[in-house]
């Protein structure tokens, strides 16, 4: 977790130049240059994109479940959970030169994909809102809920491009 532009335990590729950093499921990553952070196939999972507009330091989390703190389960894989993921992402952003007081958030995902699985999507979103609020980070834009899968690109300018399964694209 120490290298600013690598992800959990180095399981992700490096990002030379203005490349692309893929953030997998239960994963988080920080970018300090012109890289685009991407994560795909957000169903019930939630993506939290944080940027410090002054320094341009950005981070993206793709979390699967809401609570890792209560059970202590988030210690091993912080990115798996919304709460431990946000906490870790903030710490990594600060280590990379961001100020937590300047961070702003964009949130996407958390869809209700299936009736079979209880509403984990909305609970992920609610947990993200709660944690960001507790950290004093405003959510400036969001594309959450509904029953649609999403893919996101977090651009160097701090904007989050959200593409839905039907091809509809929004820039947050």
């Amino acid at each position: 977790m120490s290298h600013p532009s690598s992800s959990r335990e180095g399981t992700l590729s490096r990002a030379p130049d203005a490349g692309r950093i893929k953030v997998g499921v239960s994963d988080l990553s920080v970018a300090t240059g012109g890289e685009t952070l991407t994560t795909s196939g957000l169903g019930s999972c939630v993506a939290v994109a944080l940027v410090d507009p002054s320094t341009g330091v950005r981070g993206l989390l793709h979390a699967m479940l809401p609570n890792g703190t209560e059970t202590g389960a988030g210690i091993e894989r912080p990115g798996k959970y919304v709460d431990t993921g946000i906490k870790t992402l903030i710490a990594e952003l600060e280590a990379a030169g961001a100020s937590s007081a300047r961070l702003e958030a964009r949130v996407a995902g958390g869809a209700e994909m299936l009736d079979l699985t209880d509403a984990v999507g909305p609970r992920n979103v609610a947990r993200a809102e709660q944690c960001l609020d507790a950290a004093g980070i405003p959510i400036v834009e969001r594309a959450v809920g509904d029953g649609v899968g999403r893919t996101v690109r977090f651009r160097a300018d701090g904007r989050l491009v959200v593409r839905a399964a039907d091809g509809f694209e929004r820039t947050l």
Binding site: G10, T11, R14, V25, L42, M64, L65, G72, E76, A165
Partner: protein
Amino acid sequence: MRVDVRALGACNRLAERGAAQAAGALTDLTGTDLSVEVTGASVASGEDLAEAFAGRESIGVSVGLRGGLEGEAVLAFDADNVDALLSLLPGGASMGRSAVSEVGNIALGGFLDGWANYLGKAIDMTPPRYFEADGAAVLPDGALAGDGVFLFESRLDATTTDLDFSIYMLPDSGQFRDLVVGKTAPAAAPGADGGAGNDGADSTAVPYESLSTFASLAKRGSANAADNIAMMTGLDTTVDVSRLRFVPLADVPAEVGVEPHAGTVFELQGEPSGYLAILFEEESAAKIAASMLPTEPDEPLGGMAENALCELGNVMTSGFIDGWANVLGTSITHSPPEFVHDIGSAAISPLIAKLSRRQDYGFVIDAAIQTEGIQTRCDVYALPDERELARALDRLSES
């Protein structure tokens, strides 16, 4: 041999880290971004492996392992990707075989570093041996012999070019067996199973023979599901691949991919409980649905097609799990189908999230079923609860 599922998780994690090191080494060498898409341990008999690799042509290198681990590791590229690889390397196509050997050597060295660190012992590699192989001949020596092996397989993906390759490692018994049964993996439990807590009462050690039996059962289930498609549609079907693998659950969505898919998902109730997803790529879904309908539907994937796919999913699922209950001595039923039509990885992610509350790794049965004539393909993913499966398999060995 009893296999501790949590220790297997720790081993898989090592393979995953090793693959990331290999990707890093290749990124440095080629200047092309490479990332690890998926790492898993296949539980397969020699016969299954021969079948799964039929028709593939590979080139690559193999190295013998001595010291901390003994066995063989192989790095293989699809023969079709070789030109893409060579074009990225210093020296280009003129380097040919020596370039492939060099790349393989560097990547395998990276791969094995993680294992050596973990074991606290050096792993010596014999000089790389270049090979061109048809079918399962690519696999390490010994993979096709005997009743079954664990084969660690990582697939790496180049983000800008078509350069997927796989690393296979088949450790000999001995030290590796000790790793898998948990004897030499003290960090295994917290490392492999962070999400579950330690509930002590649940054993996750299962006899290898039972795993092997379950792999055969899964294969038979895939054949049943394919037969049921044939029955419903009148189309000839074949099972292309059917594998029982042990993988990090978080990798499964990436494996399904970001293409739009349509299909059905089911909850399995009983022991083991879990989920089953039957996913067609959009075009395949529309074609197979149309083949079941008396008239051309107004919309390719509208209400009529949805009903057809749900009906098809029902009979496929029944066929798939048919036999599990008998062999495992339990009762397993499935929920009514739920239709999904979305980005493939998004459609499966809630199932993964649900299972991930209790486990980070899981056994995944994946089967690819193809129909002749109208050329469709679907993937079936069965995701059983790890502890319940372990319990059922354990009982299987006692009966």
